[in-house]
């Protein structure tokens, strides 16, 4: 069993979340009315929906609230908060099941989240919402199916949808976009599938929109690569750019984070297979100076495959810290923080984007009862105090850290 490997991070605390430490890709800070700093976490899988942790003192996180999912055939995986409103994504294991969509909660009393509304995205071809972006208090940008959407291939069931939640009790869809050819009846031909054992679908994963460019959406489009959309007219999004590097690479483009001031795009893949079977899964640095022609210029260096591939479960890129455009989130256009499953959390300085340099890592020892015997660091968030929160996908729960680089 590997010991904790830590470099230029300082571990402040570890909370296993009382036996339910499998966390997905939703991490969001709320400052409660009484001043407490609450970290909301979406669970990777049933039976838990979300967990709230008081991280006012990052050295002593305290469990505040936890909710169960209504059905075992669903997962929440993704959530965001704006003020006292929280949006939680619901995805089912198979198309046609319910509930699939997202739920809005009033979290003004963190101990007692109250449901405001449920927005239904279920349908015969829909698994609901995998991921949502909610930063401005008005629009939810998400990867979702819909009752009226028939994909040309069952794996392309989710697409980009924009929902106006200004009135939280009455969300209204205001726009949608899918890769041409992925909807039945499109005039364009369907995209060429990836090999059957590596076909993860032409559908969005993360759908990021920032105030620096409110007219742009940055999509990791899984097997379709990177997609930049013009959403100035939300009812009619238009594709501005697409960079598709698979094949030869395995698919699953996950997240696109623009460093606006520097004309760079940071792009992560998701590793979805064990023992290095889909290696390399990378974090790419992309030259975004010519918006319609993104050019990859480097990748973040990783330790050799042979040192991690046999540690158990996955080894490769997954989530990035996304510079969330919120007051309680850290911003950096130099440092990339990325999670790599059993490769832990890693930090890179992109000052020279042609040669990103590793400046820190945190690979905790495998949690007790880890089903694979390995740590699976899944997501990362940094608050404006520069406290880093990172989570394990299966059982390890929450780790709090300081950055020392």
């Amino acid at each position: 069993m590997a010991d904790t490997a830590i470099w230029n991070f300082k571990q402040l605390a570890h909370h296993e979340l009382d036996g339910f430490g499998g966390i997905g890709e939703g991490m969001s800070i709320q400052i409660a009315k009484d001043g407490r700093r609450i970290l909301w976490l979406a669970h990777e899988s049933a039976p838990k929906n979300f967990t709230a942790v008081d991280v006012s003192d990052p050295r002593a996180p305290k469990l505040v609230a936890r909710a169960d999912l209504p059905q075992s055939h669903m997962r929440s995986n993704s959530l965001e908060t704006v003020g006292d409103i929280m949006a939680v994504a619901y995805q089912t294991t198979r198309p046609g099941l319910q509930p699939a969509g997202f739920e809005l909660f009033d979290i003004s009393v963190p101990e007692n989240p109250r449901s405001i509304t449920f927005f239904d995205c279920s349908g015969p071809h829909s698994r609901g919402v995998h991921q949502l972006w909610f930063a401005d208090g008005q629009y939810i940008h998400m990867s979702s199916g819909a009752s009226d959407f028939v994909p040309s291939h069952p794996k392309d069931d989710q697409f980009y949808r924009i929902i106006d939640v200004k009135n939280p009790s009455k969300p209204v869809e205001v726009g949608r976009w899918w890769l041409p050819g992925t909807k039945e009846g499109d005039s364009e031909p369907p995209p060429v599938r990836h090999p059957e054992n590596a076909d993860t679908g032409f559908r969005p994963h993360n759908t990021n929109v920032y105030p620096e460019r409110p007219d742009r959406a940055y999509l990791g489009y899984i097997d379709g690569g990177l997609v930049i959309l013009d959403i100035a007219d939300m009812a009619h999004p238009k594709m501005v750019a697409r960079w598709d590097y698979h094949p030869p690479y395995f698919g699953f483009t996950h997240t696109v984070v623009p460093f606006f001031d520097r004309n760079l795009l940071i792009v992560s893949d998701e590793c979805t297979r064990t023992e290095g079977q889909d290696w390399p899964k990378l974090v790419w640095i992309v030259d975004g100076r010519a918006e319609t022609n993104p050019v990859p210029i480097s990748t973040c260096p990783l330790p050799p495959l042979e040192n991690f591939m046999r540690r158990g479960a996955r080894y490769g890129a997954h989530n990035l810290y996304e510079n969330l455009p919120k007051p309680n989130a850290w911003k950096s256009d130099r440092i990339v923080l990325a999670t790599f499953f059993n490769g832990g959390l890693r930090a890179y300085d992109t000052s020279n984007p042609y040669q990103p340099a590793e400046v820190g890592y945190f690979v905790p020892e495998p949690p007790a009862r880890a089903p694979s015997g390995a740590i699976q660091i899944n997501d990362v968030f940094v608050d404006e105090r520069q406290i880093v929160y990172t989570v394990d996908r299966h059982v390890g729960g929450l780790y709090t850290l300081e950055m020392e680089f």
Binding site: D3, P303, N352, Y354, E358, G360, V363
Partner: protein, 356 residues
Amino acid sequence: MSAGSTRSKWSSETGPEALFGGKDISPFGRRQKRPRGPRLPVVVVTGFLGSGKTTLIRALLDKPEGAGTAIVVNEYGEIGIDHALLRSSSDATVLLGNGCLCCNVRSDLQETLRALFADRARGAVPSFARVVIETSGLADPGPVLQTFATDRALGREFHLQALICVVDAIAGAANFARMPESRKQVALADRIVVTKSDLAEAGATERLVERIATLNPAPVGIARNGEIDPSFLLDEPLAVRRNFDLAEADHTHGLDSFSLIFDEPLSWPGFEQAMAVLMSLRGPDLLRVKGLVALAECRGPVVVHIVQHVAHPPVELEDWPDDDRRSRLVFVTRGLAREPVAQLFASVAAFAAGGA
């Protein structure tokens, strides 16, 4: 910056920063929280044979603050003994088998450290947070300091955090008298540890500390039973806060140690030119120059470190370490006195002001 002075090799107007620098740009790369930035800290322990270096390091490893330390031992004489001692208490010990750690074996040290860094990255050795190098008693620290100066060497991965000199209260004074190298070790150090004071005759420690103060105004710590507060060994040295000028009587070969403090911010081209003149004319005698520079064009202070003809890449800090915002430089030289250096900086500053 004035026109014609922007061709500095640190200039942000060329290279990747010109394409992707963004608005909030430092000419010296990403601003750092501390002088070492993300690099691995290296503590170099010098001191004559028998001065107590190994005991001091072993005591450090026994403390919680010493966890995660890789030791690199450079042996001279008693083969394997130091190594055996250290290995029992350290996770990653590397033995340099090539005798005195000076110029001609510097590449050994580089290769050793490079291998350590690579092994750490691939998980072949336990993850360590710092390196302590125990030099052999006769080693000249100069070449070791140079090792960390440039990217070509190890400056990208390692940072000289502190140079510690160990002097024993029994033999130290006699060594100063007989061996110029021992005075040089003290003069170059960031901190000095006096050992064996409990074994020395009454008054010897006090006399030794006074003698050390004539060579170097750096902090002096007295070890108790061979150990000292870990932070005294491991911390980044503080920038000098006062003027001093210590010159040995023999000006042709004697050591000089002095500070220069500037009330007004300097310009980088001016500073660079003054240092370039010094390095080209008196490089071999410029044993060590270190300090913080306040620059008109930078928000934070810039950390500079020069060893003979080699300059470490400057690092801009996010903030000043204390409320003193003046440029503060310490020079350790061989026979180069304070006055001509101060005059050189003054004339370069006057020239820059006149030409602006």
